[in-house]
Structure formats: C-alpha cells, structure tokens
Symmetry: C3
Subunit: 475 residues, 3 copies
C-alpha cells in the first residue's frame, strides 16, 4: 500500500480551498492511513518472501548438484579396477575443490561478468562485483550473488568431473589437475557465456535448459580428446581387434553412485529454473521419466544383445536418460521426455560399442553418456519441444514433431557444433600443452602395478587379498 | 484488499444525495484506493507464496523418498552374499525405473483417478488429466499434479523395493521385474486408493498417516508370499531344524544404507502432511524418536539374547522403529512415538527368529521390519494416539491409552486385515502366474555359484579373492 | 492493516461534534474499512509464510546435519582396518540414536531451558515445556520447538560422533556408549549453553557462528582425552620412536564419507542462521571456499612433504577447511574464508604428525581435524572478521586484520580456553569413571584378532579373503 498516502497528498494539494467541514475528516483520514501506510512500508511483502524462497530453493538444488560429485566418484571408482581406486577417488574429490577456486577467481566472471560481449564475459573477478555486474538483480535473474555463484560453480564442477572417468587408469595425476583448472576457469565459462551469460547463442534462440550441451557435451568433448590423446589402457584392445573387458572392481558403489546422481539431477534440472515455482515439479517429473525410460531401454537392449541384463548398462542407461532430458526437461511434454530418455538409453549401448570399435578407450563410458546423449538431448529439443506442454508455450519453442518445422532444430544443431568445435579446439590445446610439458601418461610399469601405488603410494583396500594377475604384465 | 473499493462503491451508490462538500473527499478516496486495490489484485499474495512453498517442500521430500532406493539397495546388497551382489543391485536399481513407468501408465490413475469409486480410482491415465481429476485443486490437496505425482511414485517404488530383499539370492531376475510392475501398477494403487484416494477406509476413519499399512505392510505381505513360494535358500535350514547363518558380505554399505533410509524417512513421514507447516517439524521429531528408540531397543535385546551387540539388529531396529511410527507420527505424542518405536525394535528381533522357525527365509529381514512393524505401527495408532499432542486433536483421534476406547483400535485392525488379505490374495495370484509361466527359482547350480554369474554374467568385486566354499555345494 | 480501524475509532471518539454532513462519509469509511481489516486479520500474511519458510529451511538443514552421521561413519570405518569395521560402524550408527534420547531427556533442557542461569540451563525436560521455555517465540528464536530441537540434537550427535574416530580399534563398545550418553546429556549442553543458550560467553561477545569451538573442539577435546587414556593401538609406535602406518581398509567409503560431510556442512553452517534469508547463501559460499582451500592446501603440503599426493590428507584437508570456517562463516569475507580454510588445511597435516610425535594415537585424525582446526577457526574470527562483508557489520565484529584490534581476539581465546578446560575436566572424569568400573580397553588378543569378532561376533566382509598377518601378533 505504499502509494496510498502519496497519491492522497498529491490530490489534496492540487484541489485545495474546501469547506473546513470536509477538511477535518480528510485530515483525520490522512493521519490514520499515514500510520497504516508507514507501517506497511516496513512490512514484509509476499514478493519479499517469494524472493527468499527462490534463493532457498536454488540453494538446496546447488547442494544436490554438489553432491553429484559423490555420485560421479562412486560410479567412476566402481567401474575402474581396484589398483587404480585411490587415484580415481582423489581426482574426483579434489576436482570440485579446484573448480571452486578456479571459478571463483576467473570462471564466474568469464561466464557472467557484465563487462564482456556476446562471446565472453568479463570483470568483477573474485566475486567482488555488485550483483548487477553478473546479470543479477531487478532487471536480471532474481537471485543473490551467492546463491547464483554456488549453483553455477556446482555446474562447472560437473563438467570437469565428467572428464575424469574417460581418462582414468593411465593419466598422470598432476595433468588431470591442471586440465581441470583450465577447463573450469576458461573453456567451460566461455561456451557457457554464449548461452547462459546472454551471449550470441542465447540471442539466436538456442535452447538448452539445464545443459545437455553446455555442461554434459562440453565435459564429453574434453573427455573424448583426453581419451584420444592418451590412447587405450594396456590390454584393452588385442592386435586382432578383439576387445577385452577390464571389469570394474566395485559395482556396489557404482550403483550407489548412479542413485546419488539420480538424486542430484533433481537439483540440476529443476534448479535451472532459477526460481521456486510450479515448473520445478514439472521438470522433476520429466527428468524422472527420462531416467526411467533410459534405464529400462538400456537394460533391455543390452539384454537382447548379450543375452544377459548388464548392471553397468542399467547404470549408464539411467545416466543416459538423465542427460538426454537435461536440455528439454522444461519444453518436453511427458511423452517427449519419455522418448528422449528411451532413445538415449538405446544410444548409449551402441555408443559404448562404437567407441571401442574406434579404439577410444573410456573406462566408464563417460563419452557415451555425456557426449553422445548430450548431443542427442539437445537435438531432441528441436524434435520434441511441445508448445502445449505444462509451460503453455511460455518458451515459445516447438520442435519438428510438434509443428515447429526445422527452425529450432537448425539452431540446436548450430549450438551443438559451435560449442563442440570450440571445446575440441581449446581442450586439444590444453591437452597438448600439458603433454609437451609434463607428459600425459604414466609409465607402463606404473600402469600395470596400478596408479595407486605409483601416484599416491597407498592402496584403497588394505587388508584384502587381491587377484594380482593383471599387475604382472602376463594377462 | 480487493473488496475495499467494491464495498465502497456499493455503499456510495445506495446512500446518494450528499452535500457536494462531502462528495469531493469521498470521490478522491475512491480514486486513491481504487488504484491501490487494482494494484493489489495483481500482486503476489502470501497465500500464493504458501502454495509454492508447499510444492517446493513436498518436492524436496519426494527427492528424499526417491533417495531411499539407494538406502534399500545398500542394506539389501550388504546383507546378501557377494556372489549375488550384482543381482540385488540390479533389482534395486531398475525397480524404481519400472515403478515410475508403471505408476505413470496406470497406477496413479487407479489410486487417485476421480472417475472411480470407493474401491478403485479410474481415468486420466498417463498423467493426462487436469489436476482436479486426481483429487487436487482448491477443493482437494493443494499441490500441483507434478509434485503430487512425484511424491506418490516415490512411495509406490518403496513398496516394490521392500519385496526385493525377501526374495533375494534365489529368484529369477525377470520374475522380480514382472512382479514389481504388477505390484506398482495394480496391487499397491488399489489398497492405496482405499485410504489416500479417499476410498472406503478413509471414510471409515482408518488412520495411517504415512503408510505403515498402505506402504510397508503391503510390501511386506507381497514379500512374505514371495519368500514362501520360493522356499528357503540352499543351506539355510538343516534337516535337524538348526538354522545356519548366511552372513552378509558388506556391512559397511548396509550401515550406510540404514543411514540413507533414516534420512529418507524425514521426507517420507513429514512430507506426508502434503503441505509446508509446523507439523512437518513435529513429525520429524516423532519420527526421529521412533528410530532412536527402535535402534537402542533392538541392540539391547539382541545383546541380552546373544551375548553380543549385533550390528544387523541395530540396523533392523532403527528401520523397525521408523516403520512403527510411520502410521502415527502425526497423532502420537513424543512419548507415544518413543514407545511405538521401542516396541517395534523389540518385535523385530523376535520376528526374525519367528520367521526362521517357520522356515520362511528372508535374507534381509524385510518381512520382520516392514510387515510385522507395519502392522504394529498401525495398531499403535489405536493405542497411543494422543488428542492432546501437538496437533491439538485436530485429527480427532484418541487411542485406547488416551481415553479413546476401542473404537479407533477396531478400525485400525479392520484396515490391517483387509489391506493384508487383499494384498496376500493378489500377490499370490501374481506369484503363481509368474511361477507357472517362467518358473520362480534359478537352478540349484546357479544358486550355488551365485546369481551374478548365472543371471548377469558379471561379478560385483572383480579383482578381489573370495572364499568360494559356499559355491561348491560342500558347505 | 489491523490498527487502521482502531486508530480511526479513537480519533473519531476524541474529536466529536462535527457537522452531520461530514459524519456520514466517515461512518461509511469506517464501515468499509472495518470489513477489510477484519478480513485481513484472518488472512495469511507474508510474515506467516516467512516463519513457515524459516522452519522448513532449518528442518532441511537439520536433515543434512543428521546425514553427517553417515559421513562420519564412512570416513571412520574406511580409515580403520577391516577387522574393526563392524565395531566402528555400530558405534557410529547407534551414537545418534543415543544422542537423540539423551538430548531429549536432559541435554536440550541443560542447553536451552529457561529456568537456568548463565552457566547452565534448566527445566522443561523431555521437550515438555512451552516454546518460550527454550528461548523460542516472539522474543527469541523464531522457530517452532520441534524444528529447533531437531537442529540442535543433530549438532549434539556430531559432537559425540567425533569422539568415535579417535578411540577406535581398541575401546570397549559399552564404554563408548556410556561416554556418548554422558557427553550429549551433560557436557556438550553445558558449554553449549554458555554461548547458544544465551549464557556468559554470549554476553561477553564470544563469536562462534556454527560451532568450531562449541561443537568441534568439544568433540575434539573429549576425543583427545579418550585417546590419551586408552593409549596407542598395538604396533603403532615402535620402541625406537618410529611410527608404523596402520592403513585404512576402504578408501572408497572414506572418500564418500568426506563428500557426505561436505554436503552436510551446507546444513550445519547456513542452517545456524536459524532463519531463511540471503545470509544462508552467503554462508554456503564461504563454507565452500573454506572446504576447497583446505583440501587443496593439505593435498599440496602432503605432496611436498611426502613426495606423493595423499588421499587421506585430501579428505582431512577438506574437513579441516570446513571446521576452520565454521566459527566465522558469517563474519568472514570471501578472502577471509579462503585463508581460514587454507591455513586449516596446512595445520591438519602438521597436527597429524604432532600427535604421533607425542604418541597420541588417533586412527582417523579426529583431533587434528576437529580440535586443532576448531581452535584455529575460532581464533580466525578474531583475525579475519570483516565488518564490511556481506553482513555489513551487522554482527559488529572486526578482527585484528580488519581494524578490530585485539579485543575480539582476546574474547575468542577466552572462549576457547574455558570451553576446552571444562570439557577436558568433565570428560576426564567420565573416562576415569568408566575405566574404573568397566575397564577402557579390550584385551590384547581381542585387539589383535579385531573387535568385530571380539565385541560383536561377526565380520564386516564375509566371503572375502583377507590378509591376516596383523591378526597373528607377528606384525
């Protein structure tokens, strides 16, 4: 009610010259309402509480996304061999610490700093600027600087941790650390700026709600280049072209990791709305449908192909379904989310085979999950985006199958290609620099004995007897 | 303030004929307040924010309940032998994916569809109806369709995953999948409808706040029938009646699972209020007291009986305490919650012994926890419901020990028996159909070697040396 | 708008004697506004919703803090040997159940009961009092009794579980249970009352926002005394002064535990604001910066000192960083949080060496993390508290490096010393009483064979082959 007394005073001043009889009640009314209005001005409004609720909700989502680091750590460690467990664990634990510092120093400003252009953000490093210098405030995103930073740094950490799995079991520890810092400080923020920092892809209408391209495919492209430069693990591919399985050592923690990631995705996708509103629940449902469809599809396809239901494919199928609905979770209808996840779950099975066929050795299937399904999920927006879904076309996006023609699909392809090309080029430079200075790969002897002893001087499961046949070179 | 200007205009119109001196200030007031009121009508109200808060809170609770799948997976896997770990993990991972799809297709409509009757819901399949067609909206539950669906599907998944533990280590994988789909698509939703869908048990005054009967005993009865039809694991019961312990292979993850379930229950019980209000905190406290009392009681009882504190009994005691307060967490006082949990913790120790005495082999104690304590918790409402508790008798329920006589207790018994009978009959039909078509049990050789190799062609802990004495048939 | 009509009536009554022409509109206005005001009184206000939001947020934080029990359990179990895993797991699982009951019975009243004095609270045991009897309500903390209790009992449980790690692998199970009950029922609540119960330390201006001293150093001092009275594990220290590593058996779950604790700390620190407001996000960011800086620092320092990056130091460095920002997370600027965490991460590496040098054997480094960094974090408030940070000096605290002189630092030292002295004295009494009645330490034979068989009659990893060389006495 703030304007009440002001309007009143203005009118009163203009009119003037009334009979004194009428003046007294008016004066009294002004007096009385003045008090009320003054009181009201101090009072908490519903809009204030909504803003606080937005922050609290996005904060909780940020916690869930940060917890995804535990999910990635458990999936990746469980899928690798026990002789490398300490190494995989250490990488996954330290990577979010490094991402936090790198994104605080530089990354956040390159992604959201208001003194940049359509290609890169700039300014207000070290989180030192006012909120509006990161696109926040009344004319931008209605979150505090701290809420927004925490949510964004959690996403940056995700991109870095995706790389870890693909380069596991043969990369030098220090190389991974340096690459992670470069990725979260420079590469991820720049392509992130193109869309979420209001850059040129945002202006073109590219739609990637929670980051199938911006997060998952970026991590996936960087992982792919890493795996390619490193070459396959010893003993993975025979000279005659046969592929040897190098089975993971702990499927209990791998399964737990998948379930932690499933939980974390409820922060990742619904939180990307950056506000507490009913859309959060809608997005949670589409996310869950995608995960379920992906998990069931990958299980059935692998069952049909290999004769037995493969737990590692169930795990990767669920993750594939999740990545596949990440771009479109807000613009898909329920059926669109189901089919996007379903197709993602099918794709991941064939992608694992494909990468093996071109001798790209990815111990945990990170490229199959995050790159292939990240690309697919972004394309799926151009196919399945439904203007009659929950959001009532609020986003104004219609895919090919919902009367939108090829327009959105074209923009999606442009986004996939440009983000991919930039990330491939920049991560190639990073990997080559690191390789030339430090060397990428541990020695053959260290790889055989395990990186735990070689890089860290400790083992993960002291006191258990292990099968050491793969540590002898006679496999 | 919407009615202000309307009331004013009406009064003004009625009275009329005033001196012009008085008319001017009145007109001005109307003008001024009109603007304020019009502004207020567009503004966000506190009630709007409360509705959003309700949705966000129940959404967070749904996430916690979904995360209980990880808890069940870790408890069940840890309590089974390592040769069956992949099988138990796969069942627990895929079951929520299946439940999601089955409940989306059919189950949610059978439970809440408005076109049904007191016995079963109907209509608006595939989540395709308007909110009011699932009992939501101004005259029903004040949540969006998506929030409500996600919370309910999480519950449906819980009922299915309970079965997994009891039938572990000898059931064919495909049979469990089919049974889970039938349970979540058909059996659970029907008895669920009786109470939470506004069916006949709700109309009678049956009280089961968060599902001691509706969720836990339903899962427990289905598990009991499965364990009965399957028969005990090889080597569990000697011909002379002695019981052999078949110890679990990983109590670290089992303990972790218990703690994840404890966390998840803070979504399960407080979230069942379906609104963000101070009762949520009250329910969290009674839930926690029940868990603590159950855990301490089971530890002490097992300590006295066997001479040593048994970790598996501490785990099952905490879960027993949680199940025991699930029905009454809203109507118990603190003391009622404490005693309900305490008695549940004592019951579970004896229940484990009882089921062994009748040769029902339940590897993880699921029937002891979920069926026995589910029944107990529902009865406890008829004993301990305290009309002077936090809720100030808002529920109007008084148990036998709080002046309520036998009335509520009788209704509770009726609910336990009818839900139990229905679930036993239907799950018997399901199990027998599956058995006749596919056979229920893996071969003796596969059981001996472990279901991981037989059903999935992989092992959970590659690279570790195992004791294979129980894989040889010479035990 | 409640006062509107009252003010009006009062004014009207006082003035009187107006011309009837003016009276009619006034009367009508009164009538009209009366209705509006009455309506408004029934309506939900924004302040109501804010209170509910406060409760829901602090409740979610309480859940996260309770989940920290899982983190402690996994870190401690993973850092101990597999022959003692069941024992460590059981201690960590039962301790929160015991803490819940002890704090419900007594502890909460000793900490917050309004019938006490500056040294100890009193009255309203068993959570039986009205909210204002625990300092809640309009003139105190704006939370319901249940929300506040659950958050506080989670903290009490944390103090107790810290002790578990330091006394692991040789303490009798029953002794730990009794000590935990005494700690959470009596010792922790008394020093807690000094600050958070509004006692003498609060009145002096001691600042410990989330408990570097009140929770972590209290647990740490009690742990230190326990480790001292117990003496080192067999085989830890050679006669010639050399220290033998007794490596942990499962670094996968230890790493998972660290990540769960990191998650839980987002409830621990931001929740300590006891309200949902933008400060929560600020505190989450400072907490995260501290964790990241501590983890990176400890990794680098241990790398430099031992030549290899040590996973256990990364884990303890992250925890050290978290403990180090716990006191000052609200009054540090970003840089202060970074440096507090960084120094904590360096300190923890040297503290582990220091305690070994004085033959205090702490299997998991609990004293190094919680005691040393708890003290450091409390001191850091006196150094780094920045009156120009987010809180705009709302707390009125300036550290030495931000123009505050030595005043705050002196008060911080006083708090550290008095809380430490009290806890050392009281826990010494507790340990000695338990020792004299029951004996503290298991037999040498039991220690050698492992406490799992000795105390619990079971093993954690049945079916795996273990290296039993440390069970023979010939190490």
């Amino acid at each position: 009610m703030p304007p009440f007394d002001q309007v009143f005073k203005r009118l009163f001043a203009r009119v003037g010259g009334w009979a004194w009889v009428a003046c007294i009640p008016l004066a009294l009314i002004i007096l009385a309402t003045w008090g009320v209005a003054a009181h009201a001005q101090e009072e908490l409004t519903a809009a204030d509480v909504q803003v606080t609720l937005n922050n609290i909700w996005v904060l909780v989502c940020a916690f869930l996304v940060i917890f995804m680091n535990a999910g990635f750590a458990m999936v990746e460690t469980g899928f690798c061999r026990q002789k490398n467990a300490v190494n995989v664990l250490t990488k996954n634990l330290i990577v979010f610490a490094l991402a936090t510092l790198a994104f605080w120093f530089i990354g956040f400003s390159l992604m959201f700093g208001a003194n940049g252009n359509g290609w890169v953000g700039w300014g207000s490093f070290f989180l030192g600027g006012a909120p509006e210098l990161y696109g926040l405030g009344p004319d931008g995103i209605n979150l505090t600087k701290d809420t927004f930073f925490l949510f964004q740094v959690a996403f940056a950490g995700t991109a870095a941790t995706i790389v870890s799995g693909a380069v596991a079991e043969r990369i030098k520890f220090v190389d991974f650390l340096i690459f992670s810092v470069l990725l979260t400080a420079v590469a991820y923020p720049i392509t992130g700026h193109w869309l979420w920092g209001g850059g040129w892809l945002a202006q073109l209408g590219f739609h990637d709600f929670a980051g199938s391209t911006i997060v998952h495919s970026v991590g996936g492209w960087a992982a792919l280049m890493g795996a390619a430069f490193l070459g396959p693990r010893m003993g993975k591919y025979n000279a005659d072209g046969r592929v040897n399985a190098l089975p993971g050592h702990n499927l209990s923690i791998a399964t737990l990791g998948c379930m932690i990631l499933w939980l974390g995705w409820f922060g990742f996708n619904p939180g990307s709305q950056l506000a507490a509103d009913p859309a959060a629940a809608y997005i949670a449902v589409t996310t869950n449908l995608g995960a379920a469809a992906g998990g069931v599809a990958a299980t059935l396809v692998s069952w049909v192909m290999s004769g037995k239901p493969d737990l590692s494919m169930t795990i990767n199928g669920i993750l594939a379904g999740l990545v596949s609905v990440t771009a479109g979770c807000f613009v898909f209808g329920y059926a669109g989310a189901f089919f996007a996840g379903l197709i993602g779950g099918i794709l991941v099975v064939f992608a694992v085979g494909f990468f093996d066929s071109i001798k790209i050795d990815d111990p945990v299937g990170a490229t199959s999950v995050h790159l292939v399904c990240g690309v697919w999920g972004t394309l799926a927006v151009g196919l399945f985006a439904n203007p009659n879904n929950f959001t009532q076309g609020g986003e104004g996006i219609a895919g090919l199958f919902y009367g939108g023609g090829l327009g959105q699909l074209g923009i999606q392809i442009l986004g996939i290609l440009t983000v991919g090309l930039f990330t491939v080029v920049l991560s190639t430079i990073f990997w080559l620099v690191v390789k030339s200075v430090l060397g990428l790969r541990v020695s053959a002897e260290e790889e055989m004995k395990g990186l735990d002893i070689g890089e860290h001087g400790m083992e993960a499961y002291s006191g258990f007897l292990k099968d050491t046949s793969d540590m002898t070179g006679v496999m």
